[in-house]
């Protein structure tokens, strides 16, 4: 089993990436970032920055996410991102 497909480590990996890349040091201390924090609608990740987040996911999980699936809704929380990533991991494994 691919270790990154384990829910807990995948969640932590994505959360860490968002914290390190999209939040300032000061900001990171103020924002309660968890798997259900709204990222796009909450203004933490904007639609342009979504491209780099998508690139990270593709690289880290060795998947390809079609542009039409990279919607603000699909990227709005770490939970919804994990659903998307897991779907593509399952496809890859099939």
């Amino acid at each position: 089993m691919n270790p990154v497909s384990k829910g807990a480590s995948m969640k932590q990996m994505i959360l860490d990436y968002i914290k390190n890349e999209y939040l300032d040091e000061d900001e990171a201390e103020d924002v309660d970032l968890n798997e259900n924090t709204p990222l796009i609608s909450g203004g933490i990740v904007d639609s342009f920055s979504m491209v780099s987040l998508k690139r990270f996911l593709e690289k880290k999980f060795e998947i390809s996410i079609p542009d039409n699936e990279a919607s603000p809704e699909a990227f709005d929380t770490v939970t919804s991102i994990m659903v998307l990533v897991n779907r593509h991991l399952a496809k890859k494994g099939a």
Binding site: E21, D24, E25, D26, E27, E29, D30, P38, L39, I40, S41, G42, G43, V45, D46, S47, F48, S49, V51, S52, R55, F56, K59, N68, S71, P72, E73, D76
Partner: protein, 566 residues
């Protein structure tokens, strides 16, 4: 009654705006006063001015009386506590929070110049703009104060950092930082600075092909143009609920997201949340928005989600819709009509023009894909690039030109008058965009006349991106171009030659992307990086972006006799 453009041109003059705003020669004029105090003095103090919805759905409402007391509070604080003097530059570096809209007018009441900065700007973008303007104060919030702190050492003129949401229980403020809670500072009267039509008011930075961003300086008299265009183009009336989706970090968000609609006494809706089609439709439905001013990129994103989310909502309050930022493609105009039963009216203008200059007016037959016709108080033409002579032949491409003066034309580029004067040719102001005219006098956009990248309705300078790329430890040479994109019109594509010892790979690509995003802004982040052996340049070292763009588009490369082929 049919639309009579010629008659409208005859009847529409800037003098009409001056009369309707009760201005006579020699009077003072202050944007802050006209947006707020006029309405209170006329007995409309209890009218709702601002409905603010936060990303978590929290609603806050402000009447014009609230705005009067709170703008006075800002002005008194800035003058007495921060010692802001007339013509000092005061930056706003805030999300779309009420303090941004109200603070903007508070600064103007003091007679200082307000300099809005897009809240997603990174440290380098802040430094470039604030070093040039020599701003003495910045109003920001906890989320963004870290970036200001990092930039501060390179900003010797910056004396005061005002933080609007400092938490007493949180970290301590540093030297030069002040806590200001807007809602705790209501002031009934404030002696508004005696500003005149030519007194500087708003400083907006805009990107060019070369050099650092340029500060377009506007004056208080710009309000005459913003008022008249808001009235006649956006069709805003005092009883309208108006939603401008632009961020006041950019000129649309101030000219038409603060000034124009409030001078007309309308109620404005502000949604401080990231994009989601359902949230946008819910906002129109919840607040009964009647007039909507948005951008082609947003409209194309809404299109992607189809008609179903539109039909789930009751959007019958909408009566007029306009668009700005980049050309609105015919498919989007037609989709808008099918979705809402209304036409999106495309409008064209830029940071330098301060107000709409070419437009589709209410009632005017819309030709999907056309920019429309000149605003009736203006004379506009398509001119020969070399001579500035107007082109009358339909379909022939030239440069969009507007005959000065008009009230909201920038008065200079701050610290850069040579570039300012270079924008004029044969008595015309040259916008830098190419277009053609049809036989009915409608303008049709063809493209930029320079290398500036229009992404999501915002202009990004390739030079700024290339400079940021060069600061990355792996990058030896860089070039940036706008690559066509179905949603954003263009996105940034970078060409990068690496230093010895570095190998192109996905990790490095992502690292470079994020590096530029943090240095400049998400808009400037290359969405694609192509690693090359070397960047094409002339023998004198100038980057040949047109060669890269032609290759990207599969077009002929053209004359490359000046290219350095060593």
């Amino acid at each position: 009654m049919s639309f009579d453009y010629e008659r409208m041109c005859h009847e529409t003059t800037w003098e009409v705006a001056r009369e309707e705003l009760r201005y006579t020669d020699g009077d003072t004029v202050n944007i802050g006063y006209l947006c707020v105090d006029v309405h209170v003095e006329a007995g409309r103090g209890e009218k709702l001015a601002l409905i603010h919805e936060g990303h978590d759905g929290t609603l806050r409402q402000f009447t014009f009386r609230d705005l009067q007391q709170l703008t006075n509070g800002w002005a008194e604080f800035l003058r007495k506590t921060v010692s802001i003097r007339q013509l000092d530059r005061v930056c706003l570096f805030l999300d779309k929070v009420p303090e941004l809209y109200i603070g903007f007018l508070g600064v103007l009441k003091t007679g200082a110049v307000v300099e809005p900065l897009f809240s997603a700007f990174g440290e380098d973008a802040l430094i470039a703009r604030m070093q040039d303007s020599r701003a003495t104060a910045i109003i920001t919030q906890k989320r963004h104060v870290g970036k200001v702190r990092k930039a501060k050492d390179r900003l010797p003129d910056l004396k005061t950092i005002i933080v609007i949401d400092h938490d007493e229980d949180g970290r301590k403020l540093k030297e030069g930082e002040i806590d200001y809670r807007m809602m705790d500072h209501r002031v009934d009267t404030f002696p508004i600075a005696p500003t005149y039509p030519e007194t500087p008011s708003v400083l907006h930075y805009t990107s060019g092909t070369t050099g650092a961003p340029k500060g377009a300086m506007h004056v208080h008299g710009s309000v005459f143009a913003q008022y008249l265009t808001s009235k006649l183009v956006l069709d805003i009336k005092a009883d309208d609920i108006y939603w401008c989706t632009a961020d006041p970090g950019w000129v649309t968000g101030t000219s038409y997201g603060i000034i124009g609609p409030w001078v007309l006494g309308a109620t404005q809706v502000v949604l401080d949340a990231g994009y989601s089609s359902d949230r946008w439709y819910a906002t129109i439905e919840r607040h009964h928005v009647t007039v909507w001013y948005t951008a082609p990129t947003a409209i194309r994103m809404l299109m992607k989600d189809g008609f179903e989310p539109v039909r789930r909502r009751t959007l019958t309050s909408l009566r007029h819709m306009c668009s700005v930022g980049e050309p609105l493609n015919p498919e989007a105009v037609r989709w808008g009509y099918e979705a809402f039963g209304l036409w999106f009216h495309d409008t064209f203008w830029q940071t330098e023009t301060g107000s709409i200059v070419i437009t589709n007016l209410p009632g005017m037959p819309v030709k999907p894909g056309s920019m429309g016709r000149p605003f009736p108080a203006l004379t506009a033409a398509v001119v020969e690039p070399k001579t500035g002579e107007p082109i009358t032949e339909p379909g022939r491409v030239g440069l969009i030109a507007i005959r000065p003066p008009w009230p909201s034309l920038m008065r200079t580029y701050w610290n850069n008058t040579a570039t300012y004067y270079s924008k004029f040719l044969n008595g015309w102001y040259i916008c830098g965009d190419q277009a053609s005219l049809d036989k009915d006098g409608y303008f049709w956009f063809c493209g930029r006349d320079d290398d500036v990248i229009n992404t999501g309705g915002h202009l990004v300078g390739p030079f700024e991106i290339e400079s940021a790329l060069l600061e990355h430890p792996a990058v030896a040479e860089s070039a940036a171009i706008g690559k066509p994109d179905p949603v954003n019109m263009e996105v940034v594509k970078a060409f990068v030659a690496l230093k010895p010892g570095f190998t192109p790979n996905a990790d490095l690509e992502l690292d470079i992307m994020n590096y530029v995003r943090k240095k400049l802004s998400p808009l400037a982040m290359p969405q694609e990086i192509e690693f090359v052996e070397k960047v094409p340049k002339t023998r004198s070292g100038k980057i040949l972006r047109r060669v890269l763009k032609a290759k990207e588009l599969g077009q002929p490369i053209g004359d490359i006799s000046t290219m350095d082929d060593d």
